[in-house]
């Protein structure tokens, strides 16, 4: 797991973001066992207290769950998983819209370009 952290956003927020992306992509399947606090801190080279904070927050958001003494897992709750994906997509679209609005580009023109460039990008991958 290799994540590039920036220095200005809270690191725990960046960790949660990383988990959401993995869930949305499907790399973290429902029920997937996640690393312990210490393991993750070690992998990402960040403060263990920060990972603790991220895990606590994700438990509260029901993204992960812990049963008794077992390691924590990604939620199996379909509604939560679906909403994570929707949230990320909607966020990205909002960013896109605000930058495109600032140059007053009309929607049909944009849609055409989006379609074309998206297909090109997919071919490259």
């Amino acid at each position: 797991m290799d994540v590039k952290f920036n220095n200005r956003d809270p690191v725990y927020v960046q960790v949660i973001r990383h988990f959401k992306e993995q869930i949305a992509k499907g790399s973290f399947a429902p029920g997937h066992v996640i690393p312990s606090r210490r393991e993750l801190a070690n992998q990402l080279k960040i403060n263990p207290n920060t990972v603790q904070r991220a895990y606590k927050e994700m438990e509260e958001q029901k993204l992960i769950y812990t049963e008794g003494n077992m390691p924590s897992c990604i939620t199996k709750d379909e509604t939560v998983l679906k909403s994570v994906r929707e949230e990320l997509i909607s966020e990205a679209v909002q960013v896109f819209i605000s930058s495109i609005k600032s140059i007053n580009a009309p929607l049909p023109e944009i849609m055409e370009l989006v379609q074309k460039q998206y297909e090109e990008a997919e071919q490259r991958d």
């Binding site: 200005r8 690191v11 210490r38 080279k45 960040i46 403060n47 904070r53």
Partner: protein, 229 residues
Amino acid sequence: MIEVKNVSKKYKRKQVLKDMSFTAEKGQITCLIGINGAGKTTIMKSIMALTPIDRGEILIDGKKISKDAYEKITYIPDRLTMSPNYTIAQSFEFMADFYKVWNEQRATELLAFFQLDPNDKISSLSKGNTAKVNLLLGLALDVDYILMDEPFSGIDIFSREQIANVFTSHLIENRGVIITTHEINDIEHLIDKAVLIGDGRVLREMNVEEMRETEGKSVVDVMREVYVG
């Protein structure tokens, strides 16, 4: 918790600590940042009672430092103070003789962690490996608090990375750590708290995640504000 309360100190006529106050919690990594001559080493030595203070007080878990406290807190100076004629294994024996809290098992584990050979003579080690032995001897003590003076200075990037890995490992777990540095880049994401020091005073004390959360500023951003103005 280590509490530094209104500590002042003079070396001859030079005032090196001026009414300095900050705290360092157990289970957290507190980083004292400041340029050379800011008073970082002096405050570490003051906490360890290796040098007397003129005013103020320093408490460790609510108590003033005493002889017994040396089994609870340790100081890793910026260079190795072990005899260069010893092998690493001999330096372990030395530590075992002098400290009740020396943990041989952890020392062996650290040897593997740092990929050091116990039969090597200390005088034959590279600068990076000498720094690792220095750190190892402190980390292998079962103490609640560890003070490290410039653990990253003057060593190569790979040794620095290895040392940084210690901070996320179980070797530090639940202990209170104070480290000094004038170079924050390597460890910005590793620390809980930063205490910016300049000219013998605490210029800013902050929880780094809170600073990012409430003001969107990195440690370096705040340093720029404080030191450059």
